[in-house]
């Protein structure tokens, strides 16, 4: 069955080429780059604005008010402010490593956006190994963080960098194990294929149209927690730990380099949420088993008109924003864990649970 699913899914993907694949190669590339850059520079700002406003609501305060309507241009204003600031490098710093570290963190965060399917036909690239690519790319940002922490010639930064490395390595494992279970169930590593297989989910011959969040709720939980830790978001923000390590690996960074680290965090929130939407929440499907208007083929996922594409994009973005809101909510509600508690949670709780999840999914896959 797995073989047949693989064949059909690759076949379908081949039929429904992306919207951005035009006849002209150059135009096609330009469109794709525009899509990715647009996503990369706009959606994280939206998430950042949402964080400002949602946190303000939850904490009984106003949040940004003056820059733009209801403070909506606050982050743009911040960006301009960061550009103007002096670019300081500590005298004892390892200058080259110090300078390129924020880039090392930022660029991988951007590269994930190339494989994220957003709406029917709307993606930059549908790789056969999309999931593998996305997970491999996320691990590169560890390097940027560690380089920044080490090169700063600051003891707080060094501790922060080492903590970050330990944390990101520890949570890579449950993240990947949880994602593998999805790949096993979908029978493909292609992110588009995974969305599609959630619309054609069958159990023992019955059409269920279930999203993977339902059979794999455990895996979803593990993936969410691990993603939060990968992003170093509270309650897993020990690498920064502003009250302990001043600002961890970011302590010595000023101006635009600091802004690059911040943008990395918000872009990471978007890409991790997008991965969760694709892997567990049915991508651009409105509800399980409800196809987009005007769409046909493979459970109503492809061959859509313009309307379907727009609605699909809206649904995906809505789901992404919902997940990022939960991340903001957790930040408001929880204190920070301790470094050793964090390690314990990964190795003693999440890794065994994700292995169990994988085993159950694999057995179920063979049996049904």
């Amino acid at each position: 069955m797995m073989d047949s699913l693989l064949v059909t899914s690759t076949g379908l993907v081949a039929q429904t080429a992306g919207l951005l694949d035009t006849d002209t190669f150059a135009l096609s590339v330009a469109l794709k780059v525009a899509l990715v850059l647009g996503l990369f520079f706009v959606v994280p700002l939206v998430v950042g604005y949402m964080e400002h406003k949602a946190m303000a609501r939850l904490q009984h305060r106003r949040g940004p008010m003056f820059a733009g309507p209801a403070g909506s241009l606050q982050l743009v204003a911040d960006g301009i402010k960061f550009l103007q600031k002096e670019d300081l490098i500590p005298r004892a710093a390892d200058k080259w490593v110090f300078a390129i570290a924020p880039g090392m963190a930022l660029v991988p965060a951007m590269l994930i956006f190339f494989v994220l399917p957003l709406a029917p036909g709307l993606w930059a690239a549908d790789l056969e190994l999309g999931l593998f690519y996305a997970l491999a790319i996320t691990s590169i940002s560890v390097l940027g963080v560690m380089m920044g922490g080490w090169a700063s010639a600051n003891k707080f930064s060094l501790i922060g960098g080492l903590r970050a490395a330990a944390q990101l390595i520890a949570y890579e494992l449950p993240l990947i194990l949880a994602a593998i279970a999805v790949a096993v169930q979908a029978g493909t590593l292609s992110l588009v294929g995974i969305v599609e297989s959630q619309a054609t989910f069958t159990l023992a011959g019955t059409d269920l149209n279930l999203w993977f969040v339902f059979p794999q709720i455990l895996g979803f939980g593990i993936f969410f927690v691990a993603a939060l830790a990968e992003l170093s978001r509270p309650p897993f923000d020990m690498p920064i730990a502003d009250s302990e390590l001043v600002f961890g690996y970011m302590t010595e960074y000023t101006g635009i380099k600091f802004a690059m680290y911040l943008l990395t965090e918000y872009a990471g929130m978007v890409s991790m949420s997008a991965l969760m939407v694709v892997l567990y929440l049915g991508g651009w499907q409105i509800l399980p088993g409800v196809p987009l208007p005007g769409c046909e083929g493979a459970g109503g996922l492809f061959d859509c008109g313009a309307l379907g594409t727009v609605i699909g994009l809206g649904v995906t973005m809505g789901k992404i924003l919902l997940l990022t809101f939960v991340m903001v909510w957790l930040r408001v509600a929880y204190p920070r864990l301790r470094e050793d508690q964090l390690q314990r949670m990964s190795w003693l709780v999440l890794v065994p649970l994700s292995l169990l999840n994988l085993a159950v999914v694999a057995v179920a896959k063979v049996v049904f």
Partner: protein
């Protein structure tokens, strides 16, 4: 640190439950050694509540020893006090612990009044109690909020700040000051409470109960908060007593010591003063006692509302207040612990000597004991839960 050293003094991490131990023993042939690192936390560090410097000797993230270095903001209050008369000194003492102006003023006022053998009108004493209890809540709110901040929880700070604003508004209506009141003076308080003050106070108490509960729900029941504070930095009772620790930090070790109960001043013998106590003296207990003291203060304020009498609020003072020759020592319960003033007079209009025994100074002395063997995050948790104001250390 050499390998033999480490195995010789096996570090038992205080954060682990009894019987459980973080595995710190050297594995393998023990050829791996690490270099120690000296880390200065402060003088300007978010966790030091002012300019306190703590020098940590560290092995990785584990603190081997800690040395508080004080004096970065020493302002010579005790010497300055010798050049100001007793009423002017009120403006001085409400600044050494800048979060507890009212209780500090009351302490010095009581000292001077005892020297002068002065009878203070009943109403003035009740007003002082009311001010002191509101000031206590004001102080505790800041620590409750900032302790959350130290553990990475940002919301309690906003909640606490909002409530602080309302209390400051209330006290401002009576005294004209938000932090430095200069409201008390020898012989009573400066002026009577403004019209409607008591009504506002009653309303504020009623809503504060829910606010304190909100803060408690947000932190005390939170799994991560419990994991970060339970069993962290336990302070044995004997150690606490030997360092002269007082206030919530001492109460957390199980001793219900409170000057308001043990040596009642003003009219504290006519109200019921609940004293919260902890069991293990760990960070959780210290925080619990701080919250408990806030609730106790609300309860005391409610009683004051019922009991406060009418009448004059001060006695007419001569132009020049001169304390007779002699010396006296008065203790009051500062929000952070026991505050004492030793006043020695040669019969002049200024103190010949004014020595302060401040709560924070003694509390900080327990830090080296508490910080040894902890991890850096726990060191912050301990620093935040041993409540001190650096101005009160370097006075």
């Amino acid at each position: 640190m050499s390998v033999s050293d480490l195995s010789a003094r096996q570090i038992h991490h205080p954060a682990t439950a009894p019987g459980e131990n973080l595995n710190l023993e050297i594995v393998g042939d023990g050829a791996f050694t690490t270099a120690d690192m000296t880390l200065s936390v402060g003088p300007a560090h978010p966790a030091t509540h002012g300019v306190l410097r703590v020098v940590l000797e560290m092995d990785g993230e584990r603190v081997k020893s800690a040395h508080p270095v004080i004096g970065y903001m020493h302002r010579g209050f005790e010497k300055l006090a010798e050049h100001r008369d007793f009423r002017q000194n009120m403006a001085l003492v409400n600044r050494h612990d800048w979060l507890s102006g009212m209780t500090n003023e009351i302490g010095l006022a009581l000292t001077v009044e005892r020297m002068l053998e002065m009878e203070v009108p009943e109403r003035a004493q009740w007003i002082r109690m009311l001010g002191a209890e509101w000031n206590r809540i004001l102080n505790h709110l800041l620590f409750v909020g900032s302790y959350g901040l130290e553990l990475g929880a940002i919301t309690p700070m906003f909640y606490a700040t909002r409530e602080r604003e309302r209390i400051q508004y209330l006290l401002e209506s009576a005294t004209g000051g938000r932090l430095h009141y200069t409201y008390n003076q020898p012989g009573g308080v400066k002026i009577d409470l403004p019209k409607g003050f008591l009504h506002q106070s009653v309303d504020l108490v009623a809503s504060m109960h829910q606010r304190v509960q909100d803060l408690e729900d947000l932190l005390l029941g939170n799994e991560i908060f419990i994991a970060r504070t339970k069993g962290v930095g336990p302070l044995p009772t004997e150690v606490a007593l030997s360092y002269g620790v007082s206030g919530p930090t001492l109460q957390a070790t199980g001793i219900p010591e409170d000057v308001r109960v043990s040596e009642p001043y003003l009219k504290y013998d006519q109200v019921e003063v609940p004293v919260p106590v902890g069991e293990n003296g760990d960070s959780w207990d210290r925080f619990y006692c701080l919250l408990g003291r806030m609730k106790a203060s609300l309860y005391i304020i409610e009683q004051i509302h019922d009991l406060i009498p009418g009448g004059p609020v001060n006695v007419k003072l001569p132009k020049m207040v001169k304390a007779p020759e002699g010396a006296t020592y008065v203790r009051v319960e500062n929000p952070l612990g026991s505050l004492g003033y030793w006043l020695e007079s040669d019969g002049g209009r200024t103190p010949w000597r004014l020595k302060m025994r401040t709560a924070s100074f003694s509390n900080v002395q327990a830090l080296p004991y508490l910080l040894e063997g902890t991890l850096v995050p726990d060191a912050i948790s301990v620093l935040g839960s041993v409540f001190f104001v650096v101005g009160d250390v370097d006075r």
